[in-house]
Assembly symmetry: C2
Homo-oligomer: 636 residues x 2
Amino acid sequence: MTNAPSSRHPEGRDTTSSTALTKVLEDPWWDLRQEVLEAMATSPLQPHRDEDLDRYRSAVLEAVKALADRGWGRLGYPSEFGGSGDIRQAVKVFETVALGDLSVLVKFGVQFGLFGGSVWQLGTEEHHREFLARIGRLEVPGCFAMTERAHGSNVRELETVATYHPEDEEFEIHTPSEAAEKDWIGNAALHGQVATVFARLRTGGVDYGVHAFLVPIRTPGGTVMDGVEIGDRGRKVGLNGVDNGTLRFHHVRVPRTALLNRFGTVEPDGSYHSPIEGDGRRFFTMLGTLVMGRVSIAAASVSTAKRALTIAVRYGERRRQFGPPDEEERPLLDFLAHRRLLLPRLAATYGLHFAVWDVVDRLHAHDDSPSPELEVRAAALKAYASRHAMDTIQACREACGGEGYDAANGLGALREDVDVFTTFEGTNPVLLQLVAKGLLTEYRETMGDLRFWEIVQHLARRTRKRIQKANPVAARRTERSHIRDPDFHRWAFRTREQHLLHTLAQRLQERIGGGMEPFDAVNECQDHLVTLGTAHGERLVLEAFQAGVAGARDAGTSETLRELCTLHALCRMERHAGWYLESGFMEGAKTKAIRSAVNEMLTDVRESAQMLVDAFAIPDPVLRSPAGRCCPTGGY
Amino acid sequence: MTNAPSSRHPEGRDTTSSTALTKVLEDPWWDLRQEVLEAMATSPLQPHRDEDLDRYRSAVLEAVKALADRGWGRLGYPSEFGGSGDIRQAVKVFETVALGDLSVLVKFGVQFGLFGGSVWQLGTEEHHREFLARIGRLEVPGCFAMTERAHGSNVRELETVATYHPEDEEFEIHTPSEAAEKDWIGNAALHGQVATVFARLRTGGVDYGVHAFLVPIRTPGGTVMDGVEIGDRGRKVGLNGVDNGTLRFHHVRVPRTALLNRFGTVEPDGSYHSPIEGDGRRFFTMLGTLVMGRVSIAAASVSTAKRALTIAVRYGERRRQFGPPDEEERPLLDFLAHRRLLLPRLAATYGLHFAVWDVVDRLHAHDDSPSPELEVRAAALKAYASRHAMDTIQACREACGGEGYDAANGLGALREDVDVFTTFEGTNPVLLQLVAKGLLTEYRETMGDLRFWEIVQHLARRTRKRIQKANPVAARRTERSHIRDPDFHRWAFRTREQHLLHTLAQRLQERIGGGMEPFDAVNECQDHLVTLGTAHGERLVLEAFQAGVAGARDAGTSETLRELCTLHALCRMERHAGWYLESGFMEGAKTKAIRSAVNEMLTDVRESAQMLVDAFAIPDPVLRSPAGRCCPTGGY
């Protein structure tokens, strides 16, 4: 460590290093981020977290308008519709907004990401010309109406119907049952005027599966359209500035052109054609619209972890409790248990930051619909980052003791708001299984079940020979240089993922080969699928973290990040010690050496901890947490 | 399994079994519990969770009054002061009240448990006669003023001073600094009239360490006493019906008899004497008052886990999502990942119930101050149960998806309120270290540091030979009967605890023997201490659970509980597989066999899941959760 500050006191902090780290995290979008942060420090971007739902929702709408007025809502759209055509800028804005009020973030995401994104990605030129610029200016507030009461995760089974009537050249949108009521729809209860409604397209007596339709639900004046029935979801655990609602359609007529017809068109005569064969494949291609949403949630989750850690690390540096007899009490971060609570989470937060931006860069480089591989990455990261955020916020709340329980310090509200990140846009357990299926099928037919079983069998046959055997010499190596070697870490993460994949394929094949229904076979191995999905995410994060370290230009910053990355890798291996031991890839002496190395690294990283959170560069007026103030006036 | 219901539908439930299980949990206090539950179903015991602090706090005060009016506040006091003299009844009431609004619970606990308990346990006859009955009737609302701004965990370093003035036969209570301000004191902001204030007793120029004093802070009319300065802690993350506040004392005079003088007395002339030698020992004896509080929090934590699981298991039985092609969708609990999320937590909740009641029975049987061993048990269970409650509530929130995020289903509010259970009455990491130190010193001088190091050295010397070596044959055994054998489970839990204890003693001894300061040596092994503290709690829970199984009288109930206990034991061992492998007590084949057994057991236990939560017998009007209704009118 050449550049870490040796002093623990704020005044002793090496501000150069903290700035250099921020540069690594925020380049090349530093200026854009600053603009957003400056706006966020002031009203209306800091709506009062009002207990009165009406007032809070109105204030949040005003905040989203303020963001739209600055052109940040349409940033991800093509320049002809007022955007930059650069999704990286859109994600940077979203990630930054996520440091503030999360109702604003989510309403912003619903309007510009989900609603606007569906028009952009599922619609065709006419839809883009008619709507995209106006959506981007929040002139047409809208909804993304996918989820139904009885179909949250299993959206392929949606029941809302869109029947084509060639005589009128219209679709009839209808909610056939209570179970089919659109539920939890953001922007629906109050502000939405148009909804992208997912419904089964029927024409000529044939059901072509789920498609998306633009359906007006309110006039610009706010009057609910005939045949539309809107309910209010009322108070939620958090995000109460977002007006979630329910939608029912009673034989509502919309023109033929209301169909967002990029992946399937109905001609005036009612004939249907699509560039994609198979209802399942087509629907899962449409679900590609969720990829950006998932990446955005991952990015926002990382922001919330940064915010929580900024508060808890600063507090842990300042707050003293216990000490040797007759000596001054020590800062909480001097204690091993406290370091173990916070620093591995700090390291993982950096890793996730790099991993999210790796996917964003890949999405940006991709000029068409995201590839199945990117969909899998996005799903893995959304699950990992949202779980990490909740876990980190809780740890930070507890690390701040009573101060963490003071509402003014913001950790409670943060947890309430972030909580649902693990559920929406694909609940985490379902996403992790989607990841595992993608890996099993080598990204072919990831989303549909077509040929899934043939591929599993093929993979199991092929991999029976390939399953890696543990090398007894490597399993025993405990030298310091080996334990801290990034190549060893990468090998360990990859080996775990590959081994989990191959043994899963074998287990499935055994069951299906033995006559078990594929559905039951998958269910019997569901914990294995989830573990594999998690291991995939962990491998992605490690690789992105190591690449991030390599990308740091000055030696001090690079060294600080390298150390943090080592800590991260060792902590994950420590957590999975049981797996490594059980599978023979490590012996007891090695897992013990890893545990010792974690404790040593925690001592090193603790010296940079405050700098590492300062590098998140969250200004006090945005952080809004007395316990986490950058330059406190005192305290214990 | 002879008695488990074969049907998954509510109407098919074997109500006999659920009632029999309830009997096991609630005997012999079924009638008392029913009385409390009936009261709780109605106002004022269901205060509106009002966002207006004033209204909510008043409503909660009314609720506590209603409980006091029924005689439930003083239940734990001796009969001469209106109680039953039976702490088991007091804990049963507390545990039951914990199924409702937790602000009511905590205000109830502050008044009758902490404030009343301090008068009862630290005071002498005169104090009892003057206060106890009136405290029990809530005629004297009071506070327990221990925590100071700068001294939350390290209460031995409290700074508030009580200086004796023999000329007036008075103590002068004084807050010497901002750091010494009493903080987070329940009942202080609005309702308290008297506070048990912990302050350093000084007489004749000597500091005798921390003692407790009864200090009036308000008149019965509510006017703040001269020299007392009261602040309001305002809005917290949860428990907003409790008026937490701050207290400062400016040279406040109280009579000599204000000293709660069971463990230390000042004569009129200022001379001091105490039955306990050593300021440290004396103070830690006084802290024994917290034992009941910790056990009560453990009991309340278990109640909150029961409530969350009742909601999530019923929802998981009712809600369907995904299914085999062209078949009906399956209930969530049919999926392995969902079972893994809920059922191990359901099993642990039963285990913790038995463990809490085991300690309560021991406390009841104990006629004097709790023994150090009981203090250690209470600390271990408080940490275990509060962690478990938070973890379970979060899992249940996620298991209910969007419905879990609906404020009306109560899981968010439950989490907000329970959150601080991990912090107050001793923050969990500190308690777990206290447990480890108690075990290291074999309960001698548990609380003080006196002779701690000599004992560690002794233990390390003695145990060097005793450290158990793994038996390679046992480490390899994987037969079904062995894996499910309760004797094996008990052996595994005990071995883990013992081995952790012995290796900890060795590690400390190596460091201290090598010249390291004891403070630093303990800090270097802090993760080991915390792990040992946790392992102790796990062993206590397993043993109490197995005893609970043995206590069930009918075969069906006993079998259901045995199965659940087996699942619990296997899940904990699965979680600690890394430790068992690393230490050589298990080989890979065995940890794999345990994992398979967990998955099998989950299938068995899933059949009884609904019955197991029905046995918690939480009536719908107390549960207040549409998603968790006992007899729903429909749903998906």
